[in-house]
Amino acid sequence: MNADQARASLASTFGIDVAAAVPMVVSVSPDRWQELGRHAKEIVGCRFFNFLTAVDWKEQGLEVVARVDNLEDGVSLMLKTKLGPGVSNCASLTHVYRGANWMERECFDMFGIHFDNHPDLRRILLEDNWEGHPLLKSYAVDTPHPPYR
């Protein structure tokens, strides 16, 4: 599926107007997040899961960002969903893309986003007894860590 067909299919399924760009940015509400991932993989053919991360927009809440690519046809999608203020739950893409497993664990580690129905949600980089999530804007610089301060 080429880029124009992908835009048409996204417009008909999700009712959003996607601007032609590389990558195409697709923003949906959190309750359609997993559906969007499945659409991107099965309809648009983006079988390569590039990365998944999050952005902390302070009082506007967290935004989960994922990039998937269709390497055969050269179509790239940037999937975005704003969780809203105070919300830290998001649907998991692990059941669509296996590669999302560790990415979501890292996202949980750094931002504290709980991915529902994730098979193995625990910290991946920091220790298990770490307090807080360092990449949140509310995490203070120079937070002391006993016993090494």
């Binding site: 997993q34 692990t94 098979p119």
Partner: protein
């Protein structure tokens, strides 16, 4: 489009995550009394020789000889952490050749006298560093190499960096630089040899931080 397919199988937690035994061993090691590192018999014999008329000549000469032996065979444990380790390797190699000073980079902490902390110490790495340091036999020395090991360096305000390795182990010589060239490290090692020759007590841990401790 079914959204609730059977989930991906749950991966069990790996078995090496259970550190309990190692932690107990470490606790035992920490609470080990200082006395069992010394021999009371040897101490009383040397004390007797020292108090014998003219005997101090023997003990001081023996001290000087032992310190000369210690400083002439300082074996650093190979413990590279970051980019400073590249400079450390260059120091160990033939161009700068610390082997002419009696230093053999050794791959086991149990046969080593010196730990060159070369690079950024992360909070996750600090317990392992302490464990390797504890495995070295006394007397032992530590050289903090580079800005990261000295104070945290450019990563000082990162969330995961120990702000100076002297918060974990006592340090004898600080070598500044980012990274220090081999000449700097050689200078630091020569300073360390000078300290060992006089067996000065220079190792210190960072003073307590009033805000945290």
């Amino acid at each position: 489009m079914a959204l609730n397919d059977p989930p991906v199988p749950v991966i069990p937690a790996p078995i090496w995550r259970n550190f309990k035994e190692l932690q107990e061993w470490e606790q035992l090691h920490k609470t080990r009394p200082e006395g069992d590192k010394h021999s009371a018999l040897f101490e009383s014999v040397t004390e007797g020789i020292h108090n014998f008329p003219g005997g101090f000549v023997v003990t001081t000469a023996a001290d000087a000889f032992l310190n000369w032996a210690r400083k002439s065979s300082v074996w650093p444990v190979t413990f590279g952490l970051a980019c400073c380790a590249i400079e450390m390797m260059a120091t160990f190699c033939s161009r700068f050749d610390v082997e002419r000073l009696g230093m053999v980079p050794w791959a086991s902490p149990r046969h080593s006298d010196l730990m060159i902390v070369s690079g950024t110490v992360t909070i996750k790495m600090a317990p392992m560093l302490l464990r390797i340091y504890d495995q070295m036999p006394d007397p032992k020395w530590a050289v903090s190499m580079g800005s990261c090991a000295n104070s945290g360096g450019p990563f000082r305000h990162g969330y995961h960096v120990v702000k100076g390795v002297d918060r974990v182990i006592p340090v004898d010589v600080y070598v500044p630089g980012c990274p220090p060239p081999p000449e700097s490290l050689l200078n630091g090692l020569l300073l360390l040899q000078d300290q060992i020759a006089h067996f000065k007590k220079t190792g210190r841990k960072a003073p307590p931080n009033e805000k945290v401790d």
